[in-house]
Symmetry: C2
């Protein structure tokens, strides 16, 4: 099993071309361009000496803050060193024999499931159906499958299932005794995210597991913080019993306590994205050869169909990094994913794309 | 498998007694009392925005700094989210059937080996031999055993094997095809630590694995940073291929780059410990009923034999926390471990112990 290549490898791109990381305009990692909240920056600086102590092995204050934010029991929360640790811990604890995931989707589900000994089955999303999950998906649910992992909105395609549609899948999973994991890593960016989140359905369904991340929305991917919400306390206990102690560093734990209370930052982010999302999407779609998919979160998935050029390579000569999706299962080099950034950066990308495509 | 109870649980102690963490004088976690190096504090504050980016998945700068510090190949280093992640990753990758560890020793070896499916055998250290590894240990090495994990100096007993003695074990392990893991988490505190470290023997022995941690010496347990050094690149590759991406947060990676260059801090720490170690040990040993074991690193192991009292409970009424060793295999509630702190704190503990023991 090889380490998956992820979007955010600005380090490799910079080194290969001998340019400084700071010079690269990075559209390959889907991080909130507002940067870390001021409330967090101040808290980190004020509490820098907290790293002289081991973290609380139970992360009680952090778990309490998350439970309060979602209005759920503290017993339903378990925290991890990024959503990635949660994905691996869930896969190991759910002990699946036959799992079903989307293709394409976030690469770590497959790695985690294979590592846990599961046979992984794929539902191939179809370009001619705009990569949407359709009725064909439900036909793949059967008693042989014991675990489904869905990323919602899906990464990299951005396709979104609202709560009603997800509920239908959840119900059908129950019929067959299938556990459903929903990775809502980008749900905070969805306009009516909290109303669409499956966390609200937790009480009645103990075969449902929701994964969340604070790293993207609050611009702290370097701190590493994610969590799972589930009412199946047996599985959560199994995760806690199996975990390595102190896997979340003290500053990440502190960050979780601070940022979820920063309503001003949350509102400012939603305002920025509301203004920028459709504008950027339309500008992109207006470029010859590009077909962009309507975004629900803070990134846009698109294909380039005019010629064989690699847009990633072409943009890198202009010190702009985008995510080529050629290494996703069921995608080719025609597909790309870009983060939605601030207006000025987005304009730079649009201009650079036009230069690359029209002036060659 | 239940989560081990560790020494540093100041959170639980504070909560149970309704006192603030800051009010507790904590001797239960073996952290350098000099606190985080100023060089690191400045670097963290200056680079706080680095958390807005994902860490380098290959941690090239960090690995380079560690390799330079030890004068070994970069290919021989792999880094982890604290030494704990390294312990679990090594156990998973070495794929042991029958492993041998000390009793008592650091609890995570057993957890990691059991999780990896190994049967764990124990070499019981004997109180009447001052918990030293003696010739009986070598008699336990045989072709049935495929992995030995030694903590040097051992935690919690503090007993130390110099390089010559460790070499004898390493040689004998080679005869039987046994891999040897040496956890040198506290080696930086040993007076001639670099001369006694097994890292220098790496080139000739590819069945040797050394674990190191930067968290204790540089007072950053909240940041989480450890690493392994080994010349067996196959095993290191297996660890890297199996690891979760970005497990080390950006600030921990930065810390590793900064602190290993801080010669002033390293010297200051060695000066403090040189002055404090024997004085504290002798003061402790002079108290009726206490038998302290001569320390090699920054902590002291002792037994209390005068009566049945729990010194931990008694000291907590004075807001002092020490580590009771009753939950270590092969130890009872008569045994304790304390960190060596600054003079004034050490004096407070000695005074408090005298009050508890003499004035009751």
């Amino acid at each position: 099993m090889k380490v998956a290549k992820h979007g955010g490898n600005i380090y490799e791109a910079a080194m290969e071309r001998g340019i400084a990381i700071e010079e690269i305009l990075d559209f390959s990692a889907n991080i909130n361009p507002l940067g870390i909240p001021n409330s967090l920056k101040e808290a980190l600086i004020q509490n820098i000496h907290s790293i002289e102590r081991y973290p609380d092995p139970d992360y009680k204050a952090l778990v309490g803050a998350i439970a309060a934010y979602h209005g759920v029991n503290e017993q339903w929360i378990t925290v991890g060193n990024g959503a990635t640790e949660i994905i691996f811990a869930l896969a190991a604890s759910l002990n699946s024999k036959n799992s079903l995931i989307l293709a394409p989707t976030f690469a770590e589900y497959e790695r985690a499931l294979l590592k846990a000994g599961s046979e992984v089955h794929y539902y191939y999303l179809k370009e001619d159906n705009d990569f949407q999950i359709d009725e064909g998906f439900k036909k793949m649910l059967n008693p042989e499958i014991d675990l489904v992992v869905l990323c919602n909105p899906n990464n990299p395609t951005g396709q979104f299932l609202n709560r009603q549609k997800m509920m239908e899948i959840l119900q059908q999973c129950r019929v067959f005794g299938i556990r459903l994991v929903v990775d809502e890593a980008f749900m905070d960016f969805v306009e009516a995210g909290e109303e669409e989140s499956m966390i609200a359905c937790m009480e009645e369904y103990n075969h449902l597991y929701v994964i969340r991340a604070l790293t993207k929305f609050f611009s702290i991917p370097g701190l590493r913080l994610g969590y799972a919400v589930a009412s199946n306390e047996n599985i959560l206990r199994r995760i806690r019993d199996n975990r390595e102690p102190w896997s979340i560093n003290s500053l990440a734990a502190l960050a979780g306590e601070v940022v979820l209370k920063d309503q001003a930052y949350i509102r400012e982010t939603k305002d920025w994205l509301h203004k920028e999302k459709n504008k950027f999407y339309e500008e992109l779609n207006a470029i010859e050869g590009i077909k962009a998919y309507k975004p629900e979160a803070n990134y846009i998935f698109f294909s380039y169909n005019k010629d064989e050029r690699c847009l990633k390579e072409a943009l890198l000569t202009k010190k702009i990094l985008i995510r080529s999706c050629g290494n996703y299962k069921n995608l080719t080099n025609r597909f790309y994913r870009i983060a939605i950034k601030d207006r000025s950066s987005n304009e730079k990308l649009i201009e650079a794309l036009k230069e690359v495509i029209y002036e060659s």
